[in-house]
Symmetry: C2
Subunit: 538 residues, 2 copies
């Protein structure tokens, strides 16, 4: 599903134009056909040079038309436009009773984008999610169902969230002693880009989650219903249809959807390798940039996910500086998706690009941060995301676009209250980190015992596992077949590297926060079956 | 703010092409200039016909080029592309310390759309909303502030909503005896296009609100965070950038935003007149359609708001049949925005297009209904909208796009519970209708006494008032000046007809559900001041 609206669009209704042109040219060609003989006689006879003079340019013009017509691509052969649709040539009647007997004469046309999106997904990422939704594992109801390890949902601390909600739900939305709220605060229209109270609470939460070493300004924020629309809105702001962003691979499969579909912006992969633990290097970035420019593509930005999804590694401050230099040198934007900033468990410390920006000589107006509460606070169902930008024009435009993705006021009140409960948040952050670390360490250890190594990682809800030894052939096809074994035989949904545009086959993203610690043996047992069947067949 | 991404985009870098063409043609023209004399002599002398034969087609070709070049629009003169931006020609250095001393050499470029949206709004509709937000009337805190009569917010029944929330909030979201809910139902990811329970409850609410005479199928629904993204998503589904929808005027100012901005679809006004009480007629529709086709514009649909916003009149079943015939004949879509379906107070009965469709011979796949709970249930802050389509491909595509506009799960649970409370809903619908009728009748009566007549209406939260007698000159300028008097002198924000693309100057939309019945005299008094000042100055 990588096709987008960004198709070559010809604003002129070509078919008709061409027809008229070719008709007139073909009539002139028949004329010129006849005239080729007559004037040649004339030339021989020393007269009729006038006719020859007319016929030569006409013939040249005809062949030029023919050449251009053949070179021009057929506009949307799969989706006939209403003007050229052959079905429209059927005799029509305005009598409704006649129409009924034949049904609809011509199916009404959809947009190119809808025509593509209406078909089933071809990415294994979405296919996997779809398969789980039809046969989800449940220890009691469906113990042989598919276990979801393909979605970064964090269920490790639902108990804490539930406890808080039971205690605080009513007061947080309808007002209590602490908060002076009335029905006017939740029922009528509210600012589309988010309530100021929530922005303040969120800025403080982000500061906390990032170790207290960086401040976020609520007035630089536009709230959206999740990180997904935040990325889409930013894309609409930063680039025009047909422009491109550079994206280090492997990358989160959703970026294709958020940036290509409606904004029509292309993603140019910058391949990172296992030999570098999939760390980004500036040389690869420079190369991808200059190759794009050579192809005539306008690169408008670089999109990084830090901590990386799917690898789980973290960009060093040095790399962030280099990225800022690179962006300044090329005069392009940086979009930093930092949604996993608080879900760290490793030895590396997360540093937000906002912290690096504090150096005064850096132009902040090109830096835009995406954050959400779906990962670090695990309330994905609440749909709370944010664009934090230093560019006032981007903020103004994003505020206007946020009408299409605004968060419901009751949820905003609820989340404001939750984030403002300092004791709860402190407890949540610590407990969540401990639980992620514990399950990560155990899960990766178990994989190691099966002979599966993972990339070195420090954050996120997944490991990036090297199963290249299990695939045959060593190609995307082999990877695809292994994925099918996992979902069909082992009943486990994981995300293959190809869905993340990884250049090396055999890597898989496995989310471990969708299960409980106690379910690890069950999952590992299912993986073991596949590993053993692969080894026995090789 | 009517400019959009939908600029005439020429995929060929025109300026260069044209230059080459005109250069070659102008050189041929200088040749042909000289040659016009020489061959004429030759003709006279009975020779050089060959040269004349060459020069005539060349001259014709030159003038054709000149003609086409003049007709072609200049692509986006206001937003220079980076390749042509003069700032980029400045010498650059990669040294950061150098950069710091001069600040950023070249401002990073935004998209064309963001460049437009980052500027202040030029529509009086948005200007008015903005003015109110800065100086809102409050009887206690700011009694001389601006009274909001420019937004279709219905505050008449907040007491009922509040009473229900106080009683049911906690149970509806966290589960109680009736509803078996767990934390898994609100905290993790839920289907982006809405919970099935909410779709069922909403379908039932729509049936109720439309008099019980039509059924809606929950499986034909895609839920969105309000009608605004519902319209945008439908637009992305039904038409490509540069295509157009026909829209009867006067129309809701938000349509320009929802359909032009990001989908890049043009809106072609179909003007309705005061002499017809602004009712649509098919002849005007036919004319607008054929004129658009002549201009080479592909019309993909017709967008109606029924009941009409801003007029408040209702389409008759006969007109709905005619519209369906028209759409079938042209093979285009119908988008029916029915968000005011339940806010009726007049003698005319509302009939949904869904009801008309029950005739078996109509092709339903071209009909798409927009609905929301912002108007009829007055919970605009909750952001609950829906696309109801009979086209499976549209539903599939819209489901995928709904990720960018999904409703938070807590709100979905809350609203499901509210809609499922039959007794409450019954009471709400009746009370709301009675209160709208009462305030409408009183308000219109008071306006009449001031000499201001309103269009005949039966639904909505506004009256469409004829103040053409108060404007001088009788033009958009006069209308603008009157609007300024209202907002600056009378401190009242109302929506001028020009913001609704009304072809006749002097009409204003006045929302009366944003105030209480008791506040009518205050509002009327403020209006009276303007009326009297206009009369005294004329």
């Amino acid at each position: 599903m990588t096709l987008t609206r960004n198709q070559p669009i010809n604003p002129i209704p070509q078919t008709r134009n061409q027809k008229t042109q070719s008709q007139s040219s073909s009539s002139s060609s028949s004329r010129s056909g006849m005239k080729l003989i007559v004037p040649l006689q004339g030339v021989v006879q020393g007269r009729s040079g006038f006719l020859l003079g007319i016929s030569i340019p006409c013939a040249l013009f005809y062949f030029l038309q023919l050449y251009l017509k053949r070179r021009r691509p057929n506009p949307n052969p799969s989706s006939p436009s209403s003007s050229s649709s052959p079905t429209l040539l059927l005799p029509r009647t305005s009598s409704r009773s006649n129409l009924s007997s034949r049904g609809s004469i011509s199916r009404v046309r959809l947009s190119k984008l809808a025509t593509i999106l209406s078909k089933p997904d071809d990415s294994l990422y979405y296919l996997g999610l779809d398969r789980v939704s039809k046969d989800p594992y449940d220890v009691l109801v469906n113990p042989h169902g598919i276990i979801q390890l393909g979605l970064s949902d964090n269920k490790l601390c639902f108990d804490l969230i539930e406890k808080w909600l039971v205690k605080n739900l009513e007061g947080s939305m309808m007002g209590n002693g602490d908060i002076n709220l009335s029905i006017n605060g939740i029922v009528p229209y509210q600012p589309h880009h988010g309530l100021n109270e929530l922005k303040i609470a969120l800025a403080d939460f982000m500061r906390q989650i990032m170790g207290g070493s960086v401040e976020f300004d609520p007035s630089n924020m536009v709230l959206t219903s999740g990180a997904t629309p935040a990325i889409e809105i930013l894309s609409f702001c930063l680039a025009d249809q047909g422009n491109a962003f550079l994206v280090p691979t492997p990358y989160y499969p959703g970026f294709d959807r958020d940036i290509r579909w409606r904004p029509g912006i292309d993603l140019i992969p910058v391949h990172c390798r296992s030999t570098d633990n999939f760390n980004l290097n500036i040389a690869a970035l420079e190369q991808a940039y200059s190759q794009a420019r050579k192809r005539g593509v306008k690169v408008r930005g670089i999109l990084i996910s830090n901590p990386s999804n799917p690898v789980g590694n973290i960009l060093t401050p040095d790399m962030l500086f280099s990225l800022l230099d690179f962006a300044e040198d090329k005069n392009i934007h940086i979009i930093a998706d930092e949604v996993f900033a608080g879900s760290t468990y490793g030895s590396e410390e997360f540093v937000s690009i906002a912290e690096v920006l504090d150096s005064e000589y850096i132009d902040k107006s090109r830096v835009h941060i995406i954050y959400s509460l779906s990962k670090d606070l695990s309330i994905a169902g609440f749909r709370v995301g944010v664009i934090h930008s230093y560019n006032q024009a981007v903020l103004e435009a994003a505020k206007k676009m946020s009408r299409f993705s605004s968060i419901s006021a009751p949820t905003q009140r609820l989340v404001t209250s939750m984030l403002s409960d300092k004791r709860f948040i402190q407890e949540y952050i610590e407990t969540n980190r401990n639980r992620i670390r514990r399950i990560h360490d155990e899960f990766v250890d178990c994989l190691n015992k099966l002979g599966i190594k993972c990339a070195k990682s420090s954050a996120g809800m997944f490991c990036w596992a090297d199963m290249s030894g299990l695939i045959k052939p060593y190609s995307e096809k082999g990877e695809h077949e292994l994925w099918e074994k996992f979902i069909n035989v082992a009943k486990i949904n994981i995300t293959p590297g190809s869905a993340c545009h990884c250049i090396e086959p055999g890597w898989f993203r496995i989310c471990f926060t969708t299960i409980s610690f106690e379910e690890i043996p069950l999952v590992i047992e299912r993986i073991r079956k596949v590993v053993e069947s692969c080894k026995s067949s090789s």
